[in-house]
């Protein structure tokens, strides 16, 4: 101890105490702060929901998408929450490498030329920003990661803030591409001219429920689902549910219907299905006869933000039923209802039943996109294609080439990533539609970018 301190202590009999007291204070401050940090860490690691779980197990690919592109993309509404909530689940780690980098072929030019799977990953260096559907985010995250592995020059930031954000952002030209579960009414255009709509994935909407003791595959049809979401069917042992499920021991738990608080593609599909099959109870309610991305009955049940919010709520709440993109239901390990399809059979969502729905789309286009309640006994009735939105006229032709090649790769080679996540690969005719649409990309002079 320096002499001065000793002298001071000698002069002031309380000095020693004070010095010790201050040190004690500092020590306890430090200890308490550390304790608080430890507590927070413990709380985070022990909390159950899917979001946190996948966040901790994830090895987020360093260059991939998700998150904060919202700000860069100029989206007015990409709140920290939306990005934050989704990031955790969407970055569902890419474990297995299935994509082969294409054999570099000398005929592939980086500045346009051919548009084909062998040439798709040969493109100029670019950082792309996209925004849109939350439902496609797990697939996009994985697909863009593998695209980046094959072509390090291109990185893609995708902000999964919701379909409508994707539409608004592309219309105002604040992103390079948008994505929406429901295409824009054709002819689509924005501040930079005509917008092309490219089908990029095929997904289904699961009706997931949390009902301890009741296995998956509970049979539900249009009128019953309408009753549940209208709030007129209030308990799980209601006679209408029991009539569809003889032999299932249904508890008297109260039904908690959960819907999306923001607007959504899955909500649109379910609304369309209920308009088709729910009868006058549904169409005579506030829902009406026009399907809407905004959930038409926000006065019943609980609303949560994005697929993640709905999934978290279902996981936490016995008695809950809600609609989520099948990929989220698969990741959460949820029990899903078997929904009555057009031919009268009850079908659970699965890769094959969703693929069956997609195969009905023989005449698909951006104005004829509805595959809800399609024919076929093995068809899952709640399915839809997701649509990427890009400007036909690309003022920066390098950017146009990268976008075209990226989306062409996503709709061909990239589809290999779909199955493991709960999406179904695009049918050949739909992939061909995507390819044909991308071939119409133009540079600023109106010349085609690809041959």
């Amino acid at each position: 101890m320096p002499r001065g301190a000793v002298a001071r202590r000698a002069r002031d009999p309380r000095g020693g105490h004070r010095v010790r007291g201050e040190r004690l204070t500092r020590c306890s401050t430090l200890a308490l702060s550390l304790g608080a940090v430890a507590l927070v860490a413990a709380a985070c690691s022990s909390s159950t929901p899917a979001a946190t779980k996948s966040a901790s197990k994830t090895t987020t690919p360093p260059t991939t998408s998700t998150t904060t592109a919202g700000a860069a993309a100029g989206s007015t509404t990409t709140t920290a929450a939306k990005a934050g909530v989704t990031t955790t689940t969407t970055a569902s780690g890419a474990h297995t490498a299935t994509t082969q980098p294409p054999a570099s072929s000398s005929s592939c030019s980086t500045s346009g030329g051919t548009l084909s799977p062998t040439c798709d990953t040969q493109s100029p260096s670019f950082k792309l920003a996209g925004a849109g559907a939350n439902s496609i985010a797990p697939f996009f995250t994985r697909a863009f990661y593998y695209f980046n592995q094959a072509n390090k020059a291109v990185t893609v930031n995708y902000s999964p803030a919701g379909s409508s954000v994707g539409v608004t952002d592309i219309e105002q030209n604040t992103v390079n591409f948008g994505d929406s579960e429901v295409p824009i009414p054709t002819p689509a255009s924005g501040t930079s001219g005509n917008i092309l709509q490219v089908p990029v994935d095929l997904g289904g909407v699961a009706l997931s429920y949390n009902l301890p003791g009741v296995p998956g595959g509970l049979k539900l049809d249009g009128p019953t689902l309408a009753g549940i979401f209208l709030g007129t069917i209030k308990t799980w042992n209601d006679s209408s549910i029991a009539a569809l499920n003889p032999g299932v021991n249904l508890p008297s738990t109260a039904i908690v219907p959960v819907h999306r608080a923001d607007s959504s593609g899955p909500g649109y599909d379910l609304d369309q299905y209920l308009i088709d099959t729910g009868g006058s109870a549904w169409t005579g309610s506030a829902a009406g006869t026009t399907p809407s991305t905004k959930w038409p009955l926000p006065k019943v049940g609980v609303g949560e933000q994005l697929n993640t919010g709905v999934a978290t709520f279902i996981q936490q709440t016995p008695g809950a039923i809600g609609y989520v993109e099948y990929a989220y239901s698969l990741e959460g390990g949820f029990t899903n209802a078997a929904v009555k399809n057009e031919s009268g059979s009850f079908v659970k969502p699965s890769q094959s039943s969703i693929a069956a729905a997609g195969s009905q789309a023989s005449n698909l286009s951006a104005s004829n996109f509805n595959i809800v309640n399609g024919p076929g006994s093995g068809t899952y009735p709640l399915a839809n294609f997701s649509w990427s939105l890009i400007y036909q006229k690309q003022s920066n032709s390098n950017l146009g080439v990268v976008l075209g090649k990226l989306l062409d790769w996503v709709t061909t080679t990239g589809q290999q990533q779909a199955a493991a996540l709960g999406y179904s690969p695009l049918p050949a005719n739909v992939a061909a539609l995507a390819h044909q649409t991308l071939l119409t990309l133009e540079n600023s002079a109106g010349k085609p970018l690809f041959s």
Binding site: G162, V165, V302
Partner: protein, 332 residues
Amino acid sequence: MSPTLLEEVPPPRLTPVEGVSEALQRRWGRPGGRAYAVLRWTGAAVFVAIVLGLLVSLLVSSSQAFGHSGLSFLWSGTYNATKDVYPTGVYIVGTLVTTTVAIVLAVPIGVATAAFLSELAPRWLGAPLSVLIDLIAAVPSIVVGLWGLLVLSPVFARHVEPFFKKVPLVEWFFHGPAYGPSMLLAGTVLAVMILPTIVALSRTALSSVATEDREAARALGATRWQVVRTAVVPGARTGIEAAVFLAMGRALGETIAVAMVIGNNYALPHSLLAPGATLGSAIINNFGEASPGLDRSSIIGLVVVLLAMTALVNVGGQLLLRRRLRAVGAVA
């Protein structure tokens, strides 16, 4: 006792100190002084411009909605014409209810903590506790929201909400199914968020109570607790009220954390356990999807309503404070 003793002494007239205005003029002559003056005025002008610009642009953008439904916008709202009408009144009720819950929860705890920190706590405990409370203040609302959604919500659904349903007298407020996201949970999350504000400001107010007041109470034989109750807290009342008003402003305007835990149901809430919606949560849930025109205009109308509510609270708070301060003679 002669009454003159109690008469107020008029404040001494302030006479300008000699040479000051000359000094100011000299400074104006120097480039640095001129820059300072320009900076001052620019700062003031920018501030006024921001507030005016905000007000004007909000009013212009929301004029379509108010023009469409007039004053009934305040109750029934307009937007989403093809679907159900989402009533502004429900959001206002939701905002008031969650704020009330937050204030009811946070004020007693906050003031008690502040009193403990300023009057009773030994230093080794008080200092780190203050640091912790300041830490809570620094937690972004998205984190509090996530915590509410992932951690608090299941606890509320399983334990807290069923418990309140059994408490006599207040059970009417807590009827209906309990499933986590609710007005009660939203209010609780808000209470966590405003607690640091209340503690920090109340503590300052409490510690600035004159030592003489404490000593006087002590001299009259008051116990430690009685000193706090009869001398210190009443002395700091104005400051504590200011803290509450400030906290209320924050609770009214909070968006994202509330949207994550309130359950986003647009029906008029029938109980504190019912999910609901506030102005902030409705704005954040709907703005991204609003189509240009009446839809977007209506949501900006909600912003105007929210702004008016927070302004009312602020002005009300200031008036109250002013009256109190005048009562104790602090301002003329």
